[in-house]
Symmetry: C2
Subunit: 496 residues, 2 copies
């Protein structure tokens, strides 16, 4: 066996372990009885130990370390080795015992966070959060990186991303969105969205969502959709991509656009080159790039006036008697209504990035300037007031609303906003090659999907996000396209 | 660590592997897209290799071999070791390469069988079947057992079962059922069952089945029910027991009694002592004993006149407008109608065992008298004519109808009939302790379930089937109870 064949064999094992973990996770989130949670935990623990054993195998480690530097081998195995090497470097210096303690802490933290959120009491979560941050800081130290602490974390979720770039990005957003939002609030235009809360039977909503995601070319024959408390996408392989959605009788808009969002993630996964199956590259290029595709389909396709004109008519004819008095422009404005609110996951497209920015700024303070955990709620309130003009009445509406910190996921939030910005930059350059408006107007999404597949999806993790963006646009990440897009779209809706 | 603790640790690993395989299987059978079949196969192959590696671990083998003979340890670890030792002895002398070739053959055989069945052509399956039988015979030889070849196979599925016992069992059945069946066919009593084919919406059927299995105390909070092509039960642990059912608008009776049947399997699994979780004993005592519980709930409970009187009224009031002109005795007779047919899985309670007997007699000829595979269809036809009075018009209605032989499962079929016979023997002795008719008449199934739990379910595999039957009845397996039960029940229905 050649070195590359050996690498492939080892990676195939990791891939089988990950596949299996994913199926167990899917099973647990989509209807499995609660009483079985311990046995699932045991089995997942066992699978994690298998994964860890593999990643501690000296022969395997020396193999991928060597191949990650080898300039004579093909790109795919080289990238496979590089990814493994990156993964390994993150944990190799962490003492075993410390890592085990951290995992225990994280396992417990979820429950602590949930209880604190229920009690709306940040102080009940603060000691745990403090511990998590202390571990994260130690782990960053162990990596002996040349990067600044928070840049280390940012780079984990978005290779190449730094505070410099994000500061520039967020200040461009702040300059655009904050004054625009003030004008919108002062505007005389009244956007009605009450009709989106009309009761629509759940079985009908499911059909509508299936219909919409098929229109944007999610292949239901190579995937499935189920219900769960929090929508998510799971790509077992490009040939089996699943997502979940949440349906409530009075929330068609949630189901529709969460469906389009997860549908975007799922389309990305379905279009990854099938030759990458069984490798560690059959995944999105980065969190930000993955999010760019979900936001692309959710906002730039399914909330775009041209495509709305196409699909709203069809859905109304086929299913939506309940909205027969609502014309297409009323529908379009309703689904794009701007309402500054407290909760990130319910935010509209315009204000969403401001929520992310607040988390970014606070995380930066924590890792760069040792912000005390106890200061977070006050800082949160100030920033909400300043950017969005609303303040939480309790901690559950404030810093306790998101699960991420309880899982030690610092540096993750910016990918959400980056995703939107990547999406606008991609769309700007797609428009140079495709008559996007006409395609959307006629529902001819195939060409859009084919373009994305060729430029982004098929590569999986073979190309890094910065390469993808550069190859598409001939420049690096540039927030201007997103700022312009928001300004144009919302000025029109609110007649500013 | 003590030797027993070591054993438990190893077994926990096997248990985690089996849990994980089961979840993957469940996922594959309940809605996963077909296109993902290869990756699931890869992952299952990997999990099988982990299992095999564990079962080839010299230290582990010597541990369980030793403990299986150790009279000083507790019953549970001793039984754990015995089960492992039995499992190991079955394969230890098979040359690795031969076993791998056999597994390949079996993996391929399923497709060959399916195609042959589609073409209704036994000859297309015969060469593969011949190969499977040749391997099975070789494998039996490797085991150097003192038992006769077919007894070796019987013992695998039903420890302690032999041709002597089964010959006695089946001749008692033959003597009872064959003449009874002739009388039924000649009888003037006309049983109507057309009303069972009335269209009933599938969503309603699901509610009805859920209601029925809850009445017999399947705990939906510790399990779930889904749709699949072939109903089956999967116990991940006593805390997570799932089964599937098949729903068609014009087949309420299928859904109802397949539900009761799988519900019986599932109730057994739910009532296994939770202290056995994570061991290799958290399973039914044998195939026959498992089948006894499914048949018990399907036939002796849900097709019993007393319980029918209780639940039919409730189901009719709550859901079944479609049957409002059908009184309870008409319903009872309809669900118990006897119709000799060609297909085992659609057979009524009375003729079912005759189908099993045919398979038993043919398997015996194959393994004891070297029956040529090419002779099977003719023998099949003769036996069908003689026992049931009907003959298949093609091979798909004959020896190609069952999947078992393509999977190398020889010796399995008798457990189906044994299950019914165990169920009658168990019921006979339950009636000495519980006023069963009154309990069924008032829907008070809890006491029935508690009795079964205490006498059978809770033990899992700790007690062998023969011990369970002996402890319940003070005698060994005795087919007389089943023969009497059939005679009494069907003489009454057909006024013989």
């Amino acid at each position: 066996m050649t070195a590359v064949e050996k690498l492939e064999k080892h990676v195939k094992e990791l891939s089988n372990i990950n596949y299996t973990k994913s199926v167990l996770f899917w099973d647990g989130e989509t209807g499995a009885p609660k009483s079985g949670v311990n046995e699932r935990g045991e089995a997942l623990g066992y699978l994690n130990s298998l994964y860890k054993r593999k990643m501690s195998d000296e022969e395997f480690i020396s193999l991928f370390s060597r191949l990650s530097e080898d300039k004579t081998i093909d790109l795919v195995p080289k990238r496979m080795a590089e990814e493994l090497d990156d993964e390994y470097k993150k944990i190799k210096n962490i003492p075993e015992e410390e890592y085990v303690d951290y995992i225990k802490l994280i396992n417990n933290a979820h429950m602590v966070w949930e209880e604190a959120k229920d009690k709306e009491d940040f102080d009940a979560f603060a000691p745990t959060l403090k511990e998590i941050i202390a571990y994260q800081k130690k782990f960053i130290d162990y990596r002996e990186s040349e990067l600044s602490p928070y840049n280390v974390l940012l780079d984990d979720y978005e290779p190449g991303m730094t505070m410099d770039k994000l500061d520039e990005f967020f200040s461009a957003l702040k300059e655009t969105i904050v004054p625009l939002l003030k004008e919108i609030i002062d505007s005389d235009v009244v956007v009605d969205d009450m009709f989106l809360k009309r009761d629509i039977p759940i079985e009908k909503q499911k059909k509508i969502v299936n219909n919409l995601v098929e229109m944007i070319n999610f292949d239901l024959g190579k995937g499935m959709i189920k219900g769960s408390a929090h929508p998510f996408t799971l790509g077992l392989s490009p040939l089996d991509v699943r997502f979940t959605n949440r349906y409530q009788e009075d929330s068609l808009d949630f189901a529709l656009f969460a469906g389009a969002h997860e549908g975007g993630h799922a389309i990305y996964e379905q279009n990854i080159d099938q030759n990458l199956i069984g490798t560690n590259l059959a995944d999105g290029a980065s969190m930000g790039m993955h999010e760019s595709q979900s936001r692309f389909y959710e906002n730039l396709i399914c909330k775009d006036i041209h495509f709305v004109r196409y699909y709203y008519k069809k859905l109304k004819e086929k299913y939506l008697d309940e909205l027969k008095d609502i014309d297409v422009y009323t529908f379009y404005k309703g689904i794009n209504k701007v309402t500054p609110g407290l909760i990130r996951i319910y935010a509209d497209e315009l204000t969403y990035s401001l929520h992310v920015m607040i988390r970014y700024e606070i995380e930066k303070e924590i890792f760069e300037n040792d912000l005390a955990v106890g200061m977070i709620p006050k800082l949160w309130e100030e920033k909400m007031q300043s950017y969005l003009g609303v303040v939480p009445s309790n901690d559950a509406e404030g810093p306790l609303q998101d699960v991420h910190w309880s899982g030690g996921m610092f540096g993750y939030f910016p990918s959400y906003a980056l995703g939107s910005a990547y999406a606008s930059q991609i769309m700007h350059f797609m428009r140079k090659e495709l008559p996007v408006n006409e395609l959307l107007e006629t529902g001819d999404i195939k060409q859009v999907g084919a373009w994305l597949r060729e430029k982004i999806h098929k590569y999986g993790k073979v190309k890094k996000p910065s390469e993808l963006i550069n190859d598409i646009s001939g420049e690096g990440f540039n927030p201007i396209y997103y700022a312009n897009y928001l300004k144009d779209k919302y000025s029109a809706i609110y007649e500013i």
